[in-house]
Symmetry: C2
Subunit: 332 residues, 2 copies
């Protein structure tokens, strides 16, 4: 009996100690104590069953933008970089596919020249490289690329170019029973190829832009095909609409990094009861990239003007994060 | 030490006994042993970690049609009956709203006359009674109606007109860690007003038709408004596409009741590995309604022709279910 009690006590001690360790380790790559404390005090308040700010787990919804919020988005969003690599490969057999000056600029690495083509050039690139195949074929190509293709300046697989501090934030929210969703301007189908592995976010929690799709029976081997049309452009106010369509609940936590996320943060933080908005500010030209006002991709302007009066956290990547990316060759 | 062991043994006995009870109670309103066994042997096989047909919980996706599969859909789908009641109420202040012969037929209870107007009449009714308000306003109206309005012939609240055997099936699948989704031709926003309470299915697991929505800042009181346009008509092949859009996984179990569910069952049951399709056949004119070939709503024709060769279960409501609806005044 004595040994049994001894064993029980040892068990309790081990469990308590892991509890303490886990709590001390939360957000360990976040160096700004004010920012860290604003996040943890919010999360603890809504999780405290006996406190005045308690929110039940099924209403504890957190939404995250992806490009520039969970991983990098330069020189182009990574889904566009995937298209660039595919376009170059397709051009080997069929050089005529590069038939506009914007695509020509692109294959020569002149990203600014490509972006001068605006939405039309981006759409043209996506249609040529990401449609006319089944969802499964597309996902196999996408996944292979994300984990194996190498970023032109960071010289690492794209899969490794996610933000270690944000992974810790996802873990911390998950530990406090938040339901975590990605709400991205990028394609949901593309993001689903890596979100489970990198972010531990399952496919059904990935919301994003959606193109036309078509079901084909195909002689007993049915497929869903990707069509050259856009159904949902999940950006700005459409992010709020997508949250209504896909979740049907109002989030209490929202994180973004550009004015494309403004309405999502606004919708989240203008309700009664506790809510938190967070903007990642790209200030780190050495470790990542630096851009905000006037940026060719993902400009942050209104967010910079209004974050204070709206009570949103502005994360200074350079000064508030101990590390940006995870160690090399180490995926979560 | 002896007492401790005795206590442990008692504990184990109690737990085992509850296990046996739970298993014996599953699907208790299902009277056809062949049907019951086909369902339970499938579910047990995919849940058996050491068996050859094991499927991990995150891939154990089950999709259910709503109208006619989880609750009744006559004399019109209940969302249309909600519109009828709203139209009558709106016509008190504004009689001119009833401005077509189809709407005139409808307010006089001539449902067949209304249905002669086809999709255009149905769309006209929906626009007049279900748009031009915020999602939250619509949901408050919808929820109040579902739980309080009385069905014209069953003389019970619509909320009570769900199928007790299907509630048991949902419980049984949930107990075996299935992820359960509704994939309905009805509006997702409407179904979300009662699915959590009646089916224990949360809003984010309700997939359905989707109309246009618009985000409005509205002086710091932002809203999402319902617009008079259709974005997704979640029927037939579009149900498969919606499954891809919203879940991003291929289901292993699908249940429906009309040819609008055919492709969803086909997509589910034409994959490698275990999968099960189930069709509810409305054969019970006394307890519910009887309809299949040539029915004005939710006809079942191709499903009847092909269910055998496709290996789908056809549930004969009259003979396979001990009860149809739950007891009066008793919601789950």
């Amino acid at each position: 009996m004595g040994r049994l009690i001894q064993g029980l006590v040892t068990c309790i001690l081990i469990f308590s100690f892991s509890g303490i360790q886990a709590s001390a380790k939360a957000l360990k790559s976040w160096s700004n104590e004010t920012v860290r404390h604003r996040i943890t005090s919010f999360v603890e308040a809504v999780s405290d069953k006996h406190g005045p700010h308690y929110i039940s787990p099924e209403q504890r919804v957190a939404v995250f933008d992806n490009d520039g919020t969970l991983w990098s988005e330069y020189p182009l969003t990574f889904q566009a970089m995937f298209s660039v690599d595919r376009l170059k490969m397709m051009a080997k057999d069929n050089p005529k596919i590069v038939n506009t000056r914007y695509l020509k600029a692109l294959v020569e690495g002149d990203y600014a020249g490509f972006l001068k083509g605006g939405k039309r050039a981006v759409g043209d690139l996506a249609v040529k490289t990401q449609t006319g195949m089944s969802v499964r074929e597309f996902q196999a190509l996408g996944k292979d690329w994300v984990f194996n293709a190498i970023h032109p300046t960071k010289n690492r697989p794209y899969a490794e170019l996610h933000y270690q501090p944000m992974i810790e934030l996802l873990q911390y929210l998950r530990k406090h029973d938040f339901e975590i969703y990605i709400v991205s301007g990028g394609g949901a189908t593309f993001i689903r190829t890596f979100a489970p592995e990198i972010y531990k976010i399952p496919p059904q929690n990935v919301i994003g832009s959606q193109i036309g799709m078509k079901y084909m029976y195909n002689d007993g081997q049915p497929q869903v095909l990707r069509e050259p049309s856009l159904l949902i452009n999940d950006d700005k106010a459409e992010k709020v609409v997508s949250i209504e369509r896909f979740i049907g609940k109002r989030p209490i936590f929202a994180a973004g990094n550009s004015d494309g996320d403004f309405e999502m943060l606004e919708w989240t933080t203008t309700q009664d009861g506790p809510a938190l908005g967070l903007l990642v500010h790209h200030t780190d030209v050495d470790r990542e990239f630096a851009y905000d006002r006037g940026a060719p991709i993902a400009a942050l302007e209104r967010g910079l003007d209004e974050y204070k009066k709206r009570g949103w956290i502005l994360v200074d990547m350079k000064n508030d994060w101990k590390v940006v990316y995870p160690p090399k060759n180490k995926l979560p």
